[in-house]
C-alpha cells in the first residue's frame, strides 16, 4: 500500500470539485467512499505485482487539473467530426474533455426499449437503474484508478436495452480531448445494461488531437442479462502526449455472449484492465485485442477471464505490433473457480517486433480450481519472419513492401474479425496508411478467411 506521503498528489487536488447541488445522496455517498478509498490506498507502486511493468510516475507526478467545461472550440468540433460514425451510429454521445456535449451528440431515433443517455440525464430519468448498477461491478476496491474515477464521478454515459430489445447499429460513445494549457484530467464513466434476451453493439472511442498533457481515467461497466448478446469495441487513439488508464468490468449472465475488440493506437502510456466475469452457465466471452504502437509508447493490457460458472467457453487473441522503442505488456489471467467444470478457454498472445528496441512482455496466468476443464494458452514474440520475406521477394515483391504486407496481414487477423463496420474501416485505413498500402485495400483482397474468423 502506498502511503499518502509518497503520493505527490494530495487527494484534495484530485477531488477538488465544485460540489454540485442536486446530486442524490447515494451518489454523494459513493463519491465520498471512493475518495476515502483512494486516500487510503493511493496510487499503485511499481512493487505492486499488477502494476510492475508500467511506470506510473509520469502520471502520478503530474499536477493534473480537473478539466473545466468549455464551449466546444474548433479543435473539439473537428476531432469529433473526424471520429464520428455519422449515419452509421444509431446514437452518438460526444464528450469533450470529459464533459457531455449536447451539440456534438446525436441521440438518434432508437428502437423501443433502447435508451442512450448521459449520466446526469439517467440519474434524473431512471435513478433506480443507475443506483442499482453503478459501481456494483467495477467496485471501488477494484484498483486505485477505479476509486479515483468513482470519487469524482460526474459525467458519462448510460445505455439501457430492455428485455428482448435489439439494436443492430452501433451506439457510439466518443470521448475526445481538446487540450488545454495545463495538464488536465477527466474520469469518464460508462454503464451499459443489456437485459435478458437483448442485443446491442457498443463502441467506445477515445481520441485526442491535443498537444497538451492529459489523463483519461475511464471506467466502463457492462452487464449482460441471460441470453443477451453484446458486441463491444474500444478504439483508443489518444494523442501522443495523452495518458489513458481504463477499467472495463463485464458481468455475463447465463447463456449470454460478449464479443470484445479493443484497438490501441495512441497515447503515451496506456493501461487497460478488462475483466469479464462469466457469472452464469453457458456464457461465452471473446476478447480480441490489437496494439499498434511505436516511438516511446507504452501499452499494458491486463485481462481477466473469470470463469465463475460451469460450461463457459472463452477465447482470447491479442496481437501487438511494436515499432521504435515501444513497450507492450499483456497479462492474460484465466481464473476457473471451484465447480466451473467444462470450462473451455483458449488464450493466444502474439507480438511482432519491428525494431530491435521494442520490447514485449507477455504473461499468461492460469488459476484453475476445477478438474474437468480445457485451458490452453500460447504466446509468441519475434521479428518479421525472414523466410516469409524471402518467399514474397522471390516472387517479385519488393523487400519493404513484403515487410509491410506481412505486418498488415498480422494485424488484419484481428481487424477482419470486427463486425462493426466503421471501426474496422477506421483501423484498415490507419493500417493501410501506416504501411503505404492502397487506401482502398480491403481485407477481402488480402485476407484469407479462415473458420475462426467466420465463427467469432
Amino acid at each position: 500500500m502506498t502511503q499518502l506521503a509518497d503520493n505527490p498528489m494530495a487527494s484534495s487536488t484530485w477531488f477538488a470539485d465544485e460540489s454540485e447541488g442536486g446530486a442524490p445522496s447515494w451518489l454523494t455517498a459513493l463519491r465520498s467512499m471512493a475518495a476515502e478509498r483512494f486516500d487510503a490506498v493511493g496510487f499503485p507502486s511499481s512493487k505492486d505485482e499488477e502494476w510492475r511493468f508500467t511506470q506510473l510516475a509520469p502520471i502520478t507526478r503530474t499536477q493534473f487539473r480537473l478539466a473545466d467545461r468549455q464551449p466546444p472550440g474548433r479543435q473539439a468540433t473537428e476531432t469529433a467530426g473526424a471520429f464520428s460514425f455519422g449515419r452509421d451510429a444509431a446514437a452518438e454521445l460526444v464528450f469533450v474533455n470529459g464533459h457531455f456535449d449536447v451539440a456534438l451528440s446525436k441521440q438518434g431515433r432508437l428502437p423501443h426499449g433502447v435508451r442512450v443517455m448521459n449520466l446526469g440525464e439517467a440519474i434524473e430519468c431512471d435513478p433506480q437503474l443507475v443506483r442499482h448498477h453503478l459501481a456494483r461491478y467495477a467496485t471501488i476496491d477494484a484498483n486505485p484508478f477505479v476509486a479515483l474515477n468513482s470519487g469524482i464521478l460526474r459525467d458519462g454515459a448510460v445505455i439501457h436495452v430492455s428485455r428482448g430489445a435489439a439494436i443492430e447499429q452501433p451506439i457510439h460513445l466518443l470521448f475526445i480531448s481538446a487540450g488545454g494549457r495545463e495538464p488536465a484530467v477527466w474520469h469518464p464513466r460508462v454503464l451499459a445494461v443489456v437485459e435478458d434476451g437483448a442485443q446491442a453493439v457498443l463502441v467506445e472511442t477515445y481520441a485526442g488531437a491535443a498537444n497538451g498533457v492529459y489523463l483519461t481515467n475511464a471506467v466502463t461497466e457492462i452487464v449482460a442479462g441471460a441470453d443477451s448478446r453484446i458486441d463491444h469495441c474500444k478504439l483508443q487513439q489518444e494523442s501522443a502526449s495523452g495518458y489513458h488508464v481504463a477499467t472495463t468490468q463485464v458481468a455475463l449472465g447465463r447463456g449470454s455472449t460478449f464479443v470484445s475488440h479493443s484497438a490501441t493506437l495512441g497515447g503515451r502510456i496506456t493501461r487497460n484492465d478488462l475483466n469479464v466475469v462469466m457469472a452464469g452457465e453457458h456464457a461465452e466471452a471473446t476478447l480480441n485485442g490489437l496494439v499498434l504502437i511505436g516511438g516511446e509508447q507504452h501499452v499494458d493490457n491486463h485481462t481477466l477471464l473469470d470463469h465463475a460458472a460451469a460450461n463457459c467457453p472463452s477465447h482470447e487473441l491479442f496481437k501487438h505490433v511494436l515499432d521504435g522503442k515501444a513497450t507492450g505488456v499483456f497479462k492474460g489471467r484465466i481464473l476457473v473457480r471451484p465447480g466451473s467444470q467444462k470450462t473451455d478457454s483458449k488464450q493466444t498472445s502474439k507480438a511482432l517486433l519491428l525494431s530491435d528496441d521494442a520490447v514485449m512482455n507477455s504473461q499468461p496466468a492460469l488459476e484453475i480450481y476445477a478438474d474437468d476443464v480445457k485451458c490452453t494458452h500460447g504466446s509468441t514474440t519475434g521479428p518479421v519472419d525472414e523466410d516469409q520475406v524471402f518467399y514474397l521477394r522471390s516472387r517479385g515483391v519488393a523487400q519493404e513492401a513484403a515487410r509491410h504486407l506481412l505486418t498488415y496481414a498480422f494485424a488484419a487477423d484481428i481487424t477482419r474479425r470486427i463486425k462493426v463496420e466503421p471501426v474496422r474501416r477506421r483501423l484498415e485505413t490507419f493500417m493501410a496508411a501506416q504501411h503505404g498500402l492502397p487506401q482502398d485495400l480491403r481485407i477481402t483482397d488480402l485476407g484469407a478467411h479462415d473458420e475462426a474468423a467466420r465463427n467469432s
Partner: protein, 259 residues
C-alpha cells in the same frame, strides 16, 4: 553466337554468418535457352544451396566467382529484381503466410513483373482468366485462390502451388528445388506436366533433385552430378539412370580417385 541464358563460373558461397561454412566450392554451369538441366546429388552436396543462391537468398554469401544471366551480372541484382527479370524458384519447403491470400499475392507478383517490363497492371478479368487456365493445368480447386498462402496445405498441395505460381508468372529461368519430394505418383505427373507445358525456346528449367523419378516426366538435356559443393560430372539421361540403380556411392569413389 548466341549468349548462354545462364553462365556460372567458379561460384563459391558460404553460410552468411561469422565462421560460416563454405557450401559451394567452385560451381561451373552453363545453361542455354530452351534447355532442361538436372542437378543431382545426395543430401548436403550443395544443390539446394545453389538454387537458393541463384534466387538471391541472403542467408548465403557469395565469396568468389560470377553468374551471368541474360548477359548481365545476376549477383548484382536483389532477390526481387531477379524475380522480375524472370528468375523463379520453386521452393523445396514453401513457406506458409497466414493472412495473405494466394490471389492477392499472385496479383502483386504478376504486377511487379509487368511493371518491370513497362507494362500496365493486369486487369481483373485478364488475371482471372490467366489464373483459371493455370489452375486447370495443375488440377486445382477454385477455393484455393482465397486461402492464405500455403496455410494448412499438405506437402503435396504446397508443391503444386509452387508450380501453379510458376505457371502464372511464366519465368525465363525456372529453378525447381526438390519439387518431386513428398509427391505421390499422380501429383508428380500433374506437376511435371505443368512444368513441361511452360517450356519455350527462350526459357530454361533447372531441376534440383535427389531422385531421378521426376526426370521421367521432364526429360533433361543435361544431367549434372554435384558432390561436395562442385559439379563433378555432366552427361545425358544415362547418368540419372545410373544414380537410380547404383545410388551415389560410386560418385564418391570416382571423385576420390581423381583427387
Amino acid at each position: 553466337m548466341k549468349l548462354p541464358l545462364l553462365e556460372i563460373r567458379n561460384l563459391h558461397a558460404r553460410v552468411a554468418a561469422p565462421g560460416g561454412r563454405e557450401i559451394l566450392k567452385g560451381v561451373d554451369l552453363t545453361i542455354n535457352a530452351s534447355e532442361v538441366h538436372a542437378i543431382m546429388g545426395k543430401n548436403g552436396s550443395g544443390k539446394s544451396t545453389l538454387a537458393q543462391v541463384l534466387a538471391g537468398r541472403e542467408a548465403y554469401e557469395v565469396t568468389q566467382g560470377e553468374v551471368r544471366y541474360k548477359g548481365g551480372d545476376l549477383l548484382e541484382l536483389s532477390t526481387e529484381e531477379r524475380a522480375r527479370d524472370g528468375v523463379f524458384l520453386a521452393f523445396q519447403y514453401p513457406v506458409e503466410i497466414p493472412g495473405v491470400s494466394t490471389s492477392y499475392f499472385l496479383k502483386a507478383a504478376v504486377n511487379a513483373i509487368r511493371k518491370h517490363r513497362g507494362q500496365p497492371e493486369i486487369d481483373a478479368k485478364q488475371f482471372l482468366d490467366l489464373v483459371r487456365e493455370k489452375m486447370k493445368l495443375l488440377k486445382m480447386t477454385p477455393d484455393f485462390m482465397n486461402r492464405a498462402i500455403n496455410e494448412g496445405f499438405s506437402g503435396g498441395e504446397k508443391k503444386r502451388n509452387e508450380i501453379f505460381q510458376m505457371a502464372v508468372v511464366n519465368p525465363t529461368l525456372a529453378l525447381m528445388d526438390e519439387t518431386d519430394s513428398g509427391l505421390d505418383v499422380d501429383a508428380l505427373k500433374t506437376v511435371a506436366e505443368g512444368a513441361v507445358s511452360l517450356q519455350r525456346p527462350d526459357n530454361a528449367i533447372l531441376i534440383v533433385t535427389h531422385y531421378q523419378r521426376i526426370l521421367q516426366y521432364i526429360v533433361p538435356d543435361v544431367v549434372h552430378l554435384m558432390f561436395d559443393g562442385r559439379i563433378v560430372m555432366s552427361g545425358g539421361r544415362d547418368l540419372a539412370a545410373r544414380v537410380d540403380t547404383e545410388g551415389y556411392d560410386w560418385v564418391d569413389k570416382e571423385v576420390k580417385q581423381l583427387v
